[in-house]
């Protein structure tokens, strides 16, 4: 649909004649610095504002506007170009694609034309060899290359050109374009598969008479069948099998052996011999084998393609939530004049207007307005949350109702969403060790197979020349390295998609592998098993109605911003009760009149000073309250009315998560800096296996090292800086979406939704993924161990070989797809 063309200044000067702005019709100052691909032509713009508007229109799929409109577009609010964009034009645009790291830039490139896992290797090696490139990694699932290069030596334009030079097309990443690319790829794959299947059906029909009653078929009829088959096989070979040819040619051009090479050799040999026979040379024909082989193989590849797209979409969803354009208020609060700018160019302190329905462009605090925001992409929670003045909002949140003015605290790469996107991209860009090893084995396998084919061909040529060709064909076709090259990466891609649908990101690809072997999970307490904030856990009010007592407490606490007051307010049943003549006694409590009666709320001595000593029932209850909890008393002149017990709230799913981990056979441990007694109480309540309190950060590390010394594979889940040594020591480190950025950066796995019960699910998913990979490799080994010797001995007809190989690859790919299904109960 659209792509940005980042124009180097001098390049644009050479190509751009004097012209009118595509959006507003103003003259474009030469050299044209603003270009944007709309439809099939690069359009030029007079300023960044017009460009941004046009991008928005185009991204919404409304570019037809430009074809239908009769007048020029609205002129954007006047922007002093030199002030807003001058000098850094390329930077502002590039901010969408490239990330600055000291003197290095990093960009995500979308790669067109990747057909197999081997392309990953090719592109990675090729890109790494380009001048200035420090690092390149390619993700097969999302078709993206992440390239980091030194600005002094390389440029984005040169990188794109270099990718084109090896037969791929590369575009700076842009979600809209990606979607249309995926659709094109899916349609092409479907057409090719359908053509091959139709041709196969018909060619089989012509072949059957020869098989069942070859004596009754007259030579003239046979010739007719052959010619018809030839005509039907041509499109299969030329059109349907085109990706196979391209894959093989690319492999050969790079002097390496991918899985397409033996396939194509077999196809060429079989079709060549058949065509020769039909044209009068005599001998058998193999049209049926050729068409069936291509058709079934394409079915398997189509299944793999669909799985990859689905996995990619789940991953994309996170990245797509980033708004591209922000409306910056230049002179707020004096006027509310806005200007459209790239969201990435915002700086902390800017005020931005977020209209209803729009995404919040940066992390910040609401300074005006009241609305509900939806943060589903970050938390998985689709229920909107109220946001008023003083509330923090995160980039990517969707504003539901009212317009908000937000003061930017973090923008661009510094936002939480940007961090998540980077994590996701980094995770998707690398392939797990298993997949890399499998690919290397596949190359060796193909090399050995070709050698074997030459030897076997030479042998049969000497012994029985008429059998040499069908046997070599059968041998080339029957072998199936698909479990290695095709199914293993597909399994991991499908698993990554399933995980990200449950808001779990495996930030390092090997993490999934290690996660499957985890035997012990170590939890931090505060902030991980608990929410790290106070909550009302019990109310003791033997003489009065609990709800009424709470309402009175909340009415009094409405005048305080103390955490205890907030916790009580959150639990209040209604806001109808109000307090009057309120005096806040700092450090003690609050005094005021509720319904005309003087009340006090706060520490017990403070309340008893008004209410007198509390009764025996309450005193007995007080004794039973655990020592780590905080007690707030409420009383009037009539006596102490209620005791509110506040404690750190456990995460809702903590107990469930621990129970499920036990069900998976995983031991659980709690290591906390809290007092041993409090930790033991928590451990008992949640049912955790072992608990240790009073741990310093290095104690945690040592405790994990001790577990590892006994052969345990440890996953640690923690949230803060004090957990960092433990997280580093554990084989798998897990952090929650709300954790400190530092903990997220070092984590192998991030649970974005803060839902601990996703952890056992992720472990179950990882185990299933690994077991699927093992099943596929086991199947491939068994199949090839039987099929290849049989084919070499001449026991396999070409038709049987074609059927066997394509059904085998279909089986491993379909098995791989199972990894994409979410596990429900571990």
């Amino acid at each position: 649909m659209a792509s940005i063309v980042v124009a180097d200044g001098h390049e644009a000067a050479a190509t751009a004649p004097a012209q009118r702005c595509f959006h507003c019709g103003d003259a474009v100052p030469a050299p044209s610095r603003w270009q944007w691909q709309v439809g099939d032509a690069a359009r030029h713009f007079c300023c960044g504002g017009c460009l941004a508007i046009s991008q928005t229109i185009d991204a919404a799929g409304l570019a037809a506007y430009y074809g239908r409109r009769t007048g020029a577009g609205a002129t954007p609010p006047a922007i002093d170009e030199e002030r807003d964009w001058g000098g850094s034009d390329a930077d502002a645009l590039r901010a969408r694609f490239a990330r600055r790291d000291a003197d290095e830039l990093e960009a995500s490139l979308l790669i067109d034309g990747m057909s197999c896992g081997a392309c990953v290797w090719l592109l990675e090696s090729w890109l790494s060899r380009q001048p200035g490139v420090a690092h390149a990694s390619v993700n097969f699932a999302t078709r993206r290359a992440r390239v980091r290069w030194r600005t002094s030596e390389g440029s984005l334009a040169r990188l794109l050109a270099s990718v084109r030079a090896i037969g791929y097309a590369a575009h700076p990443y842009d979600p809209a374009r990606r979607e249309s690319m995926a659709r094109r790829e899916r349609r092409a794959s479907l057409s090719r598969t359908a053509v091959a299947l139709l041709a196969m059906m018909q060619v089989m029909m012509f072949a059957v008479p020869t098989y069942v009653a070859s004596d009754d078929v007259a030579p003239a009829q046979q010739a007719l069948f052959d010619w018809a088959s030839l005509v039907l096989t041509m499109p299969v070979l030329v059109y349907s099998a085109a990706p196979l040819w391209r894959g093989a040619l690319r492999d050969l051009a790079m002097r390496r052996l991918g899985m397409d090479v033996p396939i194509v050799l077999g196809l060429a040999a079989a079709f060549g011999a058949s065509a020769w026979s039909t044209l009068g040379g005599g001998g058998p024909v193999y049209y049926d084998s050729v068409t069936m082989f291509v058709a079934l193989l394409l079915v398997a590849r189509h299944a793999e393609l669909v799985a990859r797209h689905r996995a990619g979409e789940a991953i994309e969803r996170v990245a797509r939530a980033r708004p591209a354009i922000a409306e910056r208020l230049v002179d707020w609060p004096r006027t509310s004049v806005g200007e459209s700018v790239e969201a990435a160019s915002l700086v902390p302190g800017d005020r931005v207007l977020v209209r209803p329905g729009a995404g919040v462009p940066a992390d910040g605090v609401v300074v005006e307005g009241r609305s509900h925001v939806e943060e589903a992409v970050l938390t998985g929670e689709s229920r909107p949350r109220a946001a008023g003045v003083g509330d923090a909002v995160l980039e990517g949140a969707i504003n539901r109702e009212g317009a908000l003015v937000v003061r930017v605290d973090a923008a661009g790469d510094a936002t939480r969403l940007a961090g998540v996107v980077r994590l996701v991209e980094a995770a998707a860009a690398e392939r797990p060790r298993v997949a890399r090893v499998a690919d290397r084995i596949a190359h060796a396998f193909v090399g050995a197979l070709l050698l074997l084919a030459i030897v076997v061909g030479a042998y049969w040529h000497a012994v029985e020349p008429s059998l040499a060709l069908p046997i070599v064909f059968a041998l080339l076709v029957v072998s199936c390295p698909c479990a290695l090259s095709l199914a293993t990466p597909a399994t991991f891609a499908a698993a990554a998609g399933a995980l990200s649908r449950m808001q779990v990101v495996a930030a390092r690809p090997d993490a999934l592998e290690t996660l499957a072997r985890v035997s012990d999970v170590v939890f931090d307490k505060t902030g991980t098993l608990t929410q790290g904030r106070l909550r009302l856990v019990a109310t003791h009010a033997p003489a009065v109605d609990v709800a009424a007592a709470l309402a009175r407490a909340a009415a009094l606490e409405a005048f305080s911003e103390h955490p205890l007051a907030r916790a009580l307010r959150d639990c209040a049943p209604d806001a109808a009760t109000t307090a009057a003549r309120v005096i806040v006694h700092t450090g003690q409590g609050i005094e005021g009149e509720v319904g005309g009666t003087p009340y006090r709320i706060g520490s017990l001595p403070f309340v008893e000073a008004l209410a007198g000593p509390m009764g025996a029932v309450l005193a007995a209850r007080l004794a039973s309250i655990p020592p780590q909890a905080t007690v707030v008393a409420l009383g009037s002149v009539a006596g102490v009315e209620a005791l509110f017990v506040l404690d750190d709230a456990e995460r809702e799913t903590a107990g469930e998560a621990i129970a499920r981990l036990h069900a998976l056979g995983v031991r659980t441990h709690i290591l906390s800096g809290d007092s041993a007694r409090a930790v033991a109480a928590w451990s008992q309540r949640l049912g955790a296996g072992e608990a240790r309190g009073g741990c310093s950060p290095s104690d945690k590390r040592q405790a994990i090292a001790d577990l590892q010394a006994h052969g345990a594979v440890v996953a640690m889940i923690g949230d803060g800086v004090n957990d960092a040594p433990g997280l580093a020591q554990a084989q798998v480190s897990v952090s929650l979406g709300s954790a400190a950025p530092l903990a997220q950066w070092t984590a192998d796995i991030v649970v974005l939704s803060d839902d601990l019960s996703r952890l056992p699910l992720a472990i179950a998913q990882a185990r299933r993924t690994l077991s699927i990979v093992r099943q596929n490799l086991g199947w491939a080994f068994a199949y090839n161990a039987v099929a290849i010797p049989a084919a070499a001995l001449g026991l396999v007809t070409p038709l049987l070989a074609a059927a066997g190989m394509s059904l085998s690859s279909l089986a491993v790919v379909l098995n791989a797809l199972r990894a994409g299904r979410a596990v429900r109960r571990p």
């Binding site: 919404a60 659709r183 899916r186 349609r187 479907l190 057409s191 359908a194 053509v195 139709l198 041709a199 059906m201 018909q202 029909m205 012509f206 007259a218 009829q221 007719l224 069948f225 018809a228 005509v231 039907l232 499109p235 708004p323 329905g357 995404g359 969707i398």
Partner: protein, 57 residues
């Protein structure tokens, strides 16, 4: 069996025709979404759907 001479080219032509129709329908987007239309036919509130679409990011 002279009829074969007519029938076999005919079958080849038919396959070509089916292939062409299929190719057209694929490129026409008939196979892009195999689940959506099944739900869409149940939702007869076209006005609401149109506004959903226009407010999508």
């Amino acid at each position: 069996m002279e009829v074969m001479i007519v029938l076999i080219p005919l079958s080849v032509a038919l396959v070509a025709l089916v292939g062409a129709v299929f190719w057209w329908s694929v490129n026409n987007g008939q196979f892009d979404d195999l689940e959506g239309p099944a739900h869409r036919i149940l939702a007869d509130d076209d006005g609401a759907r149109a506004s959903d679409r226009s407010s999508a990011p």
